[in-house]
């Protein structure tokens, strides 16, 4: 036997050995599988301790129990309405809570806890219905609103959305710690009458009351939670159509119909199971295909398959407008009008949306004011149209030459484009880089940063151009219009123009609808003529829903995805 060659060893006399070893390995494999199964049973028991997915069906539509299953894009940071500032928390909040006013299936404001309301100058009075109840059976009173609003305005709470209450008398001062919150103009005259005094008469206060920050909080319960209000399902009480029965952090959230809700007859579903928390669009599509969630957003590459499968597609504008903002600080090159004009003349938002981004549901941006905004009678953008300005490379070069002359430069140094690191932002930045180089010979340096770093650089003014966006807070054009007012802290390009400021003041204080909209029209004109920004796109989504679920509503205001009007229609 030639021991030096192990191959020969296993082959020649070892065939018997290999055979026996193969048998042994088979036995070993069986033992391994048995061990794995045993371990899995143990783990199953352990997993039962760490989560509680059981209890509700995991099917997209459960006809028998009248429940549906959906998902959340991410774990809601918290369910404390006084502190919440994100869209996902708002989705859940609008299902389990109800404010003075709520949004109906058409997105219109109607009475919620308030039966009726009346505005007379700076005085707004809400008359509350007496049959609204918390999920512990106690009535929802005007005191619950007074407590929540005053509490969140106190500087120690540090609410990021406190500014949305600033139209109320002394709210801003109280929030800055200048006066006590007792002096804020909110008073519960009795259990069912809430008197609000405004700083100045404004036309859009009711629209703001629809926002999450204006939701009520039960004071007694709030103090029982000792700082953990809204941290878990049992750390809050509910007055909305649904109540939360379980919240497994990062995994799932279950809502069941709230029997104490005053208008419970209106609610047709018995439960909503947010069974997954993920933003991975492929995972969500796979879950939808597998019949485990009732709704899913689609990306461009999924459209063909959706057509092939004959899914019913829906579309909705999410509300946010994206634009490229210039740095207007005097020391920056982009403070030069002719340079901005030159860049804007080669910028083509329809090419960007249709040939570069190519996401379904997106619209080319033309103005800071999105398409869905309402004017005096019809859509705002029809009443105050944006002048058509197609790209013009010749004219752009003339403006560039002027700009160089004014700046006293031979050649333009590279400009910095601050961008976020999302895939869409990246291709957008690369598109500009190519267009500016091709048409104007301007070098663009892309500075891609994660969210908080980008915000810091925006605030510090470390950019020439920045890809920015703005989502509306309340249903009035002012939510966009005051963005470039010189005093607005969100005006991170530090644009300052007395003419624009004056129009913002008119829009803020006037009670005449025509006068206000004229002011918005003027603001739109200034923004475009002075090239304060270059509008890029309006974000929208294309989504599919399970054919058995009807009445899912998606709107800009209120819950982004609203199941409170939905019902199940059993098919086949």
């Amino acid at each position: 036997m030639k021991q030096e060659d192990p191959t020969a060893y296993t082959k020649a006399p070892g065939d018997r050995l290999t055979h026996a070893a193969g048998k042994q390995l088979a036995i070993y494999a069986l033992a391994a599988v048995a061990l794995l199964v045993a371990v899995m049973f143990v783990l199953n028991a352990l997993a039962g301790l760490t989560s509680s997915a059981a209890g509700m069906s995991s099917m997209a539509v459960d006809v028998e129990n009248n429940t549906i299953t959906s998902y959340l894009r991410e774990e809601p940071p918290q369910m404390d309405s006084m502190r919440a500032s994100d869209a996902v928390s708002a989705i859940v909040m609008y299902h389990v809570m109800e404010g003075l006013l709520r949004f109906d299936a058409d997105g219109e404001l109607v009475g919620g806890v308030a039966e009726r309301w009346e505005q007379d100058g700076t005085n707004v009075t809400f008359w509350l219905r007496d049959n609204a109840r918390w999920s512990n059976g106690e009535p929802v009173t005007a005191h619950d609103f007074e407590f929540a609003w005053k509490h969140l305005l106190s500087p120690s709470v540090g609410s990021q959305y406190a500014f949305i209450l600033y139209p109320i008398l002394n709210a801003e001062k109280a929030n800055n710690g200048e006066v006590s919150t007792d002096e804020v103009g909110v008073e519960a005259i009795d259990d069912f009458t809430l008197q609000v005094t405004l700083e100045t008469p404004i036309a859009y206060f009711d629209q703001m009351v629809g926002y999450v920050t204006y939701l009520p909080v039960n004071e007694e319960f709030y103090h029982q939670t000792a700082g953990r209000y809204g941290a878990d399902a049992d750390q809050m009480i509910y007055n909305g159509p649904f109540m939360m029965t379980s919240w497994v952090h990062g995994a799932s959230m279950q809502l069941v119909k709230n029997p104490y809700y005053w208008d419970a007859d209106r609610i047709k579903l018995d439960g909503i199971n947010f069974a997954h928390m993920t933003s991975d669009s492929n995972t969500l599509l796979n879950l939808f295909k597998d019949g485990q969630i009732a709704i899913a957003d689609l990306t461009a590459e999924m459209l063909d398959e959706a057509m092939l499968r004959n899914w019913s597609l829906n579309q909705f504008m999410e509300g946010t407008v994206f634009y490229t903002e210039f740095n207007h600080r005097p020391e920056r090159l982009t403070s030069n009008y002719n340079l901005r004009k030159a860049l804007s003349l080669v910028h083509d938002s329809s090419e960007l949306v249709n040939r570069v981004i190519k996401l379904p549901g997106y619209l080319p941006g033309e103005s800071l004011f999105p398409n869905w905004i309402q004017g005096v009678e019809g859509p705002f953008r029809e009443e105050y149209p944006v002048p058509n300005s197609p790209p013009d490379v010749e004219l752009a070069r003339e403006h560039l030459a002027l700009a160089l002359e004014e700046l006293g430069l031979e050649e333009l140094p590279p400009l910095v484009f601050l961008s976020s690191e999302t895939p869409v932002a990246r291709i957008q930045a690369e598109y500009y880089q190519e267009v500016f180089r091709r048409d104007l010979g301007i070098e663009l340096l892309i500075d891609a940063q994660i969210f908080r770093q980008r915000l810091q650089k925006m605030t510090d003014g470390e950019f020439d151009l920045v890809g920015a966006g703005w989502g509306p807070d309340y249903n009035d054009p002012l939510t966009f219009a005051d963005l470039f007012a010189s005093w607005n802290l969100n005006n991170r390009g530090r644009y300052s123009n007395p003419a624009l400021d004056a129009q913002v003041r008119i829009a803020q204080t006037s009670l005449d609808r025509k006068e206000r909209l004229d002011a918005f029209g003027e603001i739109q004109r200034i923004l475009l003529e002075d090239v304060v920004i270059m509008p890029d796109y309006e974000r929208g989504y294309v989504y599919v829903t399970d054919p058995q679920v009807r009445g899912i509503v998606r709107h800009v205001f209120g819950s982004e995805t609203d199941f409170t009007h939905a019902w199940i229609e059993p098919g086949e």
Partner: protein, 310 residues
């Protein structure tokens, strides 16, 4: 042995302290403001938030306060989830990652030994070529590709058969764990297969196997008692680091399969500059890794006294 254990533990503590300090310094030097939000806040609110998180003090003072709290096992409150403690986050989400990790490691180890032994037995024959090709695939293809492919395959399988064989994503029962654990363990399994193969080949050509055959022992006995047992030792030694790596490195798999593990918090905290969660998860994972390595060293020292002397 005791002295050796103490020495190793002390070294581990210093390592963890170093990890904590380096993370603290790095984190505070990254540009960006953990308290900033989409909407600009006024000075008064900012000052209050800074006071709540102790950011109004000098960084060195913050460091000592933080280290003091950490020694008492308090990692503080999250910045993004303002009423949730980092301790709660770790307590609720680490068991999920650990469960998935244990299953993945078992899968990797058992599979690796089996395939490794097979390839060695059938060296340079067809089964060897097939398995080694798959092994190279398993080592070189990143896990998110397998995760996506696996999930897609499952969707098609479920719709083809008309019954839900395994859930596509989510967490809760053991059926949810199966596919993610397999995907997570795949890379390690491939690595262990190679390790097992080479160590098995070495054993097979060694003198004592020849002696055993010469003694007239049955092939079954030679295989189980002499070959497998000796060949498996190197595989066991990489098990410790593998457990730590798999348990802490499941971020992608957790994302694709929508699993509420700690990996997601670990990565998102950095993106959101959530100081306390960054510190909490990094120190926790760091300590876990260090502990696993020490454990393996100790077991090694117990098996092989020569290690202790060095």
């Amino acid at each position: 042995m005791w002295w050796y254990t103490c020495k190793r533990l002390l070294q581990g503590l210093v390592t963890v302290w170093f990890i904590a300090t380096a993370t603290f310094i790095g984190m505070h030097n990254v540009p960006g403001d953990p308290l900033s939000g989409e909407r600009a806040t006024n000075a008064a609110i900012r000052a209050n938030l800074e006071a709540r998180y102790g950011l109004d003090r000098p960084v060195t003072e913050q460091y000592f306060i933080y280290m003091g709290n950490m020694l008492r096992g308090d990692f503080g409150i999250s910045y993004t989830q303002q009423n949730r403690e980092v301790n709660d986050i770790i307590r609720e989400h680490f068991p999920v990652s650990a469960t998935l990790g244990i299953l993945a490691v078992m899968f990797a180890a058992l599979g690796g030994i089996l395939w490794g032994a097979l390839t060695a037995l059938y060296r340079n024959r067809l089964p060897d070529y097939i398995i080694m090709f798959l092994v190279i695939l398993g080592i070189s293809v990143p896990s998110f590709v397998f995760a996506a492919l696996g999930q897609l395959g499952l969707v098609n399988l479920n719709s083809l058969t008309g019954v839900s064989i395994l859930p596509v994503a989510g967490w809760g029962t053991v059926s949810h764990m199966l596919l993610p654990a397999m995907v997570l363990g795949l890379g390690t399994m491939a690595y262990m297969t190679r390790l097992m193969r080479s160590s098995m080949l070495e054993v097979m050509s060694s003198d004592y196997i020849r002696t055993a055959r010469a003694k007239g022992l049955s092939p079954t006995r030679i295989f189980t008692r002499h070959q497998l047992r000796n060949a498996v030792l190197p595989v066991i030694t990489v098990l410790g680091p593998a457990i730590a790596a798999i348990t802490t490195g499941g971020f992608v798999v957790e994302l694709v399969f929508a699993i509420p593990g700690l990996g997601r918090y670990f990565v998102q905290a950095v993106q959101q500059l959530d100081y306390t969660v960054i510190m909490g998860t990094t120190v926790f994972y760091g300590a876990f890794l260090v502990f696993m390595v020490i454990l393996v060293d100790l077991v090694y020292g117990w098996i092989d006294p020569r290690v202790r002397l060095q």
